[in-house]
């Protein structure tokens, strides 16, 4: 879009806008600019500023320097587990759920029997909110009253799927992946339908095997979908919140950065300065992905 505009202006040459043009442009640009500043940049910068204060939401704002960060890194037992869980979440969705969604999409695209049925069944969880998925996970995995333990029938020492801090993150990841897979599948399915069949034919004539055709020809033509899926996966990995909050408020093995932010800021605790510091850490992690993505995109534009 922006590329197009610059090209067009260059062709027209430097020409001055009339007063009315300027007014119209000003209003049209000003409104989104203001919204962007107020809704996105304002709160972001405010969070960064607050992370250097010891504000409790009631008293005067007091400057404490980097104390919050020092506390966070050395004196907050939930912090490092939360970072680990966020990265695990990202890795699990990216390396397990997303490829699995792609596999399902390819299978359905090749026309397995009852393809329509699978397609709608696997996509079904996507329309559920993660909070509902968390609730369903409890019905299945609860130690005393859950469906899974009822099926396994071990009443002596039933496995505590959601209460065991070494186990519950995997159960929750399973539930999250259940939903994510369907999402990824539907995106790839749409992409695969759009792949020109003659490309595959050409590859077959050139003597490429099925695998080669897929990885060398089909997957590269899916690049736009790959980018979208990548972005969605990263977003899902970093903003993960609802499902663990529904399961046990994100404690006892299910700590996530987003939960720690909420616990400190929203709850009765009102450790707004400290919570902001956690939010800033999450922001920095997200920035890493955003910057990588932008660099890739800009390079891609140049090479095209």
């Amino acid at each position: 879009m922006s590329l197009l505009t610059t090209r067009r202006t260059r062709r027209r040459g430097p020409r001055r806008f009339s007063a009315r043009d300027r007014a119209v442009l000003g209003v049209l640009l000003g409104i989104p600019l203001l919204l962007d500043l107020v809704i996105v940049w304002g709160p972001t910068l405010a969070s960064v500023a607050l992370s250097f204060t010891g504000w409790d939401g009631i008293s005067d704002i007091e400057w404490v320097g980097t104390e919050n960060y020092a506390n966070l890194f050395t004196n907050y037992p939930q912090f490092w587990p939360a970072v680990r869980h966020n990265l695990l979440w990202l890795g699990f969705l990216g390396l397990v759920a997303t490829p699995f969604g792609l596999l399902l999409a390819v299978l359905i695209d090749r026309g397995v029997r009852f393809g329509r049925f699978y397609q709608s069944t696997i996509y079904l969880p996507v329309v559920l909110s993660l909070a509902v998925v968390g609730f369903i996970a409890q019905l299945v995995f609860s130690r005393d009253q859950g469906a899974l333990n009822a099926i396994l029938g071990d009443t002596e020492s039933p496995t505590d799927w959601l209460g065991d801090p070494d186990l519950n993150i995997w159960m929750v990841l399973l539930a999250a992946a259940w939903r994510h897979t369907g999402y990824v599948m539907i995106l790839y399915l749409a992409g695969l339908k759009a792949v020109d069949a003659s490309l595959k034919e050409a590859a077959a004539i050139d003597g490429a095997s099925e695998t080669q055709t897929f990885f060398r020809v089909v997957l590269p033509t899916l690049r736009p979908v790959n980018v979208i899926v990548g972005v969605i996966t990263v977003i899902e990995g970093l903003r993960a919140f609802d499902i663990v909050y529904a399961v046990n408020k994100g404690r006892n093995g299910l700590e996530l950065l987003s939960v720690l932010v909420t616990d400190n800021i929203i709850g009765e605790a009102s450790r707004i300065g400290f919570g902001s510091a956690i939010a800033v850490v999450l922001l920095v992690v997200s920035m890493g992905f955003v910057v990588t993505y932008l660099v890739q995109e800009i390079r891609g534009e140049k090479n095209r």
Partner: protein, 452 residues
Amino acid sequence: MSQSPFNGSAVPASLSGHRISRRNLLRGAAAGAGAIALPSLLAACGGGPGGDGKTVTMGSNASDPVPKKAFAQAFAAYEKQSEEKRTVDVNTVDHNSFQENISRYLQSKPDDVFMWFAGFRMQFFAEKGLLHDISDLWGDYTGFSAALKAQSTGSDGKQYLTPYYYYPWAVFHRKSVFAKYGYEAPRTLDEYLALARRMKKDKLTPIAFGDKDGWPAMGTFDYLNMRTNGYEFHKSLMAGEEAWTDRRVKDVFDTWRGMLPYCQQGANGRTWQEAASSLQKGESGMAVFGLPHPGQQFAEDEQDDIDFFAFPEIDPAHGQDAVEAPIDGFLLAKNSKSLKNDSTMESARDLLSWLATGKAEDVYLAGDPNNVAVSEDADTAAYTPLQKKAVDLIAGSKQISQFMDRDTRPDFASTVMIQAIQSFINEPDDIDGLVNGIERQKKTLFASDAGS
């Protein structure tokens, strides 16, 4: 909702242009920005003190059906007896949301009167200047014990709360289960553990235990602490004056560790409702709960089967002196706009004075028999046997504590202790590491307040 401090337009200053045309463009942008910002600024100017002075707004956290109905009956009774035709306008908010939003609520536009808890959790807001002093009303209150007055008093010695009801914590069990196996209520910790061993032999889980919600296990900690070290130590520990690395705290965790084998395993994955229902099904023998809790999992005709005994004695020096009995009551919000109107203030104070009477408590408890009245003037004739026993339990106690999350700073309870107790349940063996972690975090939290 709190308002964003960023309504103003910072556009022109931060992006002053290099070229005239761009500057004009920005001028247009600023105009566009103003067009959006103006209405919201105008909207912010509306409102102001008003009303007829006869209507008192009430912020209620009683969102569960039983208490909600009982409160409605109580307020209806007030309106009926009011000669000045005063009315109560109730604004009910979900219990947990109310709790989580309390500081923002009290700072923005609170109702005139609101429901809240006694003890440290009330003193915290009194200290921040968000409550009206009602010491003069307390001068006329009758029927409240000294312990109740102490729990309604802020750290400045003034009263802020009108107590309404409370409910004791104790060890609950089913009469029929105890009769079936011939169990007797234990009085000391040794008897308690001996009973637990017998239950285990009888293929029962001795102690039902659930701490998924984070707070239920605090009751057990409080009792172990008060029975081992006494109420005064509990109070100063909660106030941040004692070190968690103290030998006495380690003793508490040590005793608890000895009890854990008799508790339901996997407590961190179990809600208190699930724990209570295992008590109801007769799968487990006893459980530490507050009075309103177990009853909710029992059918109507099983209610008579619920019984309890006081948490057993550990150190004879402290006996069974203290009882954990959280008090709920009513407070006046300082930031309420309509309270600035004298006649509304008069109405709100009239409402509080009425709520402080035994009669007012009778009306409520008729609708919600899961609590007991705080006033000595309340009519106990209509009480269930369980309520009567609860009254005796509290009457026989020397001190009343409020529960960990009401006796200490909210941030300490919710961001340190919940996690600490859950990790203790997972790994009961590393007590030193546990108390060191708590102490370090406690120091930063309690120190932060000293400065402000």
